[in-house]
């Protein structure tokens, strides 16, 4: 009780500086977490693209999709690859917009050899093709624990007067973050073609790809699915450089092309480079705010040096003195850390629910760990500096100073 009373006495005259510190530190921690979340997104997209076995392939993008002739020619060249011995398959997005109980989703056909490996083990359920005579879907963009796995839902087209419906069973849910593979980016600067450009946040229903599901998706789109403007041509393992070059020449007539290995390499260097580019800004801010905390702690000790001498004389032990010396600052730091962590978790929860999209950002437990680590480091420095200062205000030292 006495300690609490002393704490509140200590707060007197420091409220303004502590409130300032609180807001400055909140801003700094938010900048730090924003930068770190960008890094997490880049890193995760690199992992996903790597897991998807997209290596040894050719990425293509029609850069004049509005030109009908050019699209027709691209379709023809893709068709001509069907019998090509060095081409294993062509992967591209095929989707339709559907709704379940007025909630919009992208119904996306997935390649069963790529997607399960790309996303890894699901937090709930599994990748299944069919169960009880119904197609199975994996849901993404919602909190996994909220997904009624094992239940049947009806998908309806969002197009007015389109009565297409499909009863599907939910077999599993993707974990947060809802990173959905979406081809369609191309830059003439090869280094700019990195994996993070191919992932978006969206609500998705993954349906296994086969001839029947392709027909269903086409029906959901009123008989016309979007043209194949981009995708990946996957080569067989034994394809020679000459064969790869031949395929490249065919596609490059009507689209911009890039080897997927180049994308993977660019992503790797981008991941390592991104930390270097992302961290300096919050580091500068952290350095200044850490110094601010130390300043306020030191100032508090200097202003209350007479009080500490009295505490000492009246029998207050060293441990209590040390706690009291930096308590105001550390309590502010604690409140700031808790506020930031709670804010991050709320943001994460809202994004996971699909309430809003956080493009190119991932908020996770890593942010909480980072925030707490930074706070811990500042806390230790403040405690260390406070103890150093406090040693100078022992009654003996005070007496020496008075005599001087």
């Amino acid at each position: 009780m006495k300690k609490i009373k002393l704490f509140f006495i200590g707060l007197k005259g420091y409220m303004l500086s502590l409130i300032t510190l609180f807001f400055v530190m909140i801003a700094v921690l938010l900048v730090l977490n924003y930068s770190f979340s960008q890094y997490l997104f880049i890193n995760r997209s690199g992992e996903l693209f790597g897991n998807g076995h997209f290596d040894n392939g050719l990425y293509f993008q029609n850069i004049t999709p509005y030109d009908q002739d050019s699209q027709i020619r691209l379709d023809e060249s893709l068709k001509s690859l069907e019998g090509n011995p060095c081409v294993k398959k062509v992967t591209h997005n095929i989707n339709a917009s559907v709704h379940i109980n007025n909630e919009n989703y992208q119904l996306e056909l997935y390649d069963q050899e790529i997607y399960p490996d790309m996303y890894g083990t699901l937090p709930i359920g599994d990748w299944k093709s069919m169960e009880d005579g119904k197609y199975c879907v994996v849901i993404g963009g919602v909190i996994p624990k909220d997904v009624p796995v094992g239940e049947t839902v009806v998908l309806k087209s969002i197009i007015p007067n389109n009565s297409t419906e499909l009863e599907v069973k939910i077999s599993g849910a993707l974990a947060y973050p809802p990173m959905i593979l979406k081809f369609g980016y191309y830059s003439s600067d090869k280094k700019a073609n990195t994996a993070d450009k191919f992932y978006i946040h969206d609500k998705v229903l993954y349906l296994p790809k086969n001839d029947t599901t392709l027909k269903i998706v086409t029906e959901f789109c009123d008989g016309n699915t979007a043209p194949i403007t981009s995708g990946v041509v996957k080569y067989i393992d034994s394809a020679t450089e000459k064969q790869k070059e031949e395929v490249k020449n065919i596609i490059s007539e009507n689209a911009a092309v890039l080897y997927t290995d180049t994308i993977l390499e660019s992503t790797k260097s981008y991941v390592s480079d991104s930390l270097r580019k992302i961290l300096p800004t919050p580091s500068f801010l952290l350095l200044v705010s850490a110094l601010s905390y130390i300043s306020i702690a030191v100032l508090s000790i200097y202003k209350k040096k007479a009080d500490y001498t009295i505490y000492y004389i009246t029998g207050c032990n060293k441990q209590t003195m040390h706690i009291l010396a930096s308590l105001q600052v550390n309590i502010t730091l604690l409140i700031t850390t808790i506020t930031t962590c709670v804010g991050i978790l709320i943001l994460k929860n809202m994004a996971a629910k699909g309430m809003y999209s956080l493009p190119c950002l991932i908020f996770g437990w890593q942010n909480v760990v980072l925030t707490c680590s930074v706070a811990l480091v500042i806390f230790l420095i403040v405690v260390f500096v406070s103890s150093l200062m406090l040693r100078r205000f022992s009654p003996v030292e005070q007496l020496k100073l008075t005599k001087e």
């Binding site: 500086s17 400055v24 580019k277 300096p280 130390i294």
Partner: protein
């Protein structure tokens, strides 16, 4: 002179009263200055635009009226940069084009016929046939032509390269390709000159961006050499010149950032000022007016911040290659004297403004009250 002496004496009292607090204040302002230099360079659109080196920031576009016969670009730019490529464009009336490809009537529209100088790889994206002229076509000034995709669309025709022809100025050209490019039609350079096209527009792209002052020289040179120069649609520092007008806003925002960063350190200064107020009381007793005392105190803050921020700027300058350049988000970022001067000014002005409430509190009391309180 006396006031200046008193200002320095005031600073000396700050240091003498508590070296540790003053050291902490110095470290805080120093780190805030270094952070301010970092933000000024890395998140300031004026700085990033200045060093921007993409294709558009290396491009010049000149329009001439009346059109000119011949331009020797080597003569003009050699001293300043090596051109990556140049595009010369002639504007022609739709009546001078005979559309034998479709029945579409060409009215109310000007067409552009151009040629690319030196770097033939820069024609545009090939869509049909060729997007390059053969060496023989250039040396023999053959009447071959590449049509832009937009023009093919406008003419409402599906062009067959090698077979289709088009007539411009009563000369028939064989279409060798369709490409996505800036000009409606493209000719081999020799054909363009042989057939007497006059240039209305010239686009020159430099291999390396010229310096700001070289750019001013280049623009002056072109204006002098071509009195019929109508407009300069773009040049490497066009956007930079435009956003430079926003400098006060950016400096104001940086001052806010600096204030937020250094406000905690101003509490240290308040502590030093409060505990050396007895000096100011003596000044007042000796006849100094309240305004003079406040001026001395504010100048002490100003000069202290000035000394610290200049140290910060010098430190940044000296350690730039070794340390600070590696921390930059923006590549090839450079700081000049003017930048440091602006940063130091922002830091000093912001410090003085923040310290006003701390220092003015002293002047609220009468001399007697201050004497009782501080002496």
């Amino acid at each position: 002179m006396k006031i200046l002496f008193l200002i320095f004496k005031n600073i000396k009292y700050y240091i003498k009263f508590n070296k540790a607090v003053f050291l902490l204040f110095t470290t805080g302002i120093l780190s805030s200055t270094l952070a301010l230099i970092f933000f000024y360079g890395n998140i300031n659109p004026i700085k990033t635009e200045y060093i921007n080196d993409d294709l558009y920031s290396r491009q010049y576009q000149f329009s001439f009226f009346p059109a000119i016969n011949e331009i020797n670009i080597n003569d003009m730019f050699d001293k300043y940069f090596e051109p990556e490529y140049s595009l010369f464009i002639s504007k022609i009336d739709n009546r001078k084009i005979k559309n034998t490809l479709s029945e579409k009537e060409l009215t109310g529209r000007e067409f552009t016929v151009g040629y690319i100088y030196d770097n033939l790889d820069r024609v545009g994206i090939k869509l049909k046939g060729r997007n390059k002229f053969l060496e023989s076509e250039i040396t023999n000034s053959e009447n071959t032509i590449i049509v832009s995709k937009y023009t093919e669309y406008y003419l409402d025709v599906n062009i067959n390269p090698g077979l289709d022809k088009i007539t411009i100025n009563d000369i028939e050209y064989t279409i060798v390709g369709v490409a996505q490019m800036d000009s409606d039609f493209l000719l081999p350079s020799t054909t363009y000159i042989k057939n007497g096209f006059e240039t209305n527009e010239m686009i020159v792209v430099a291999k390396e961006k010229p310096s700001y002052y070289d750019n001013i020289e280049i623009l002056r040179l072109v204006r002098d050499k071509y009195p019929n120069l109508e407009t300069i649609s773009t040049h490497p520092y066009r956007y930079y010149d435009k956003i430079q007008k926003e400098t006060p806003i950016i400096l104001f925002l940086l001052a806010i950032v600096f204030t937020a960063m250094s406000i905690a350190f101003m509490f240290l200064l308040k502590y030093l000022a409060d505990n050396t107020n007895y000096v100011s009381v003596i000044h007042t007793i000796c006849g100094a007016s309240k305004e003079t005392v406040i001026f001395i105190k504010l100048m002490a803050v100003f000069l202290t911040t000035l000394a610290i921020s200049i140290t910060g700027a010098l430190l940044h300058m000296m350690l730039y290659d070794v340390l600070f350049q590696k921390l930059n988000i923006v590549d090839n970022l450079t700081y000049n004297f003017k930048d440091y001067l602006l940063i130091v000014s922002v830091a000093c002005i912001a410090s003085v403004i923040i310290s006003i409430p701390f220092i003015v509190s002293f002047s609220k009391n009468s001399t007697i009250t201050n004497k009782i309180k501080f002496c």
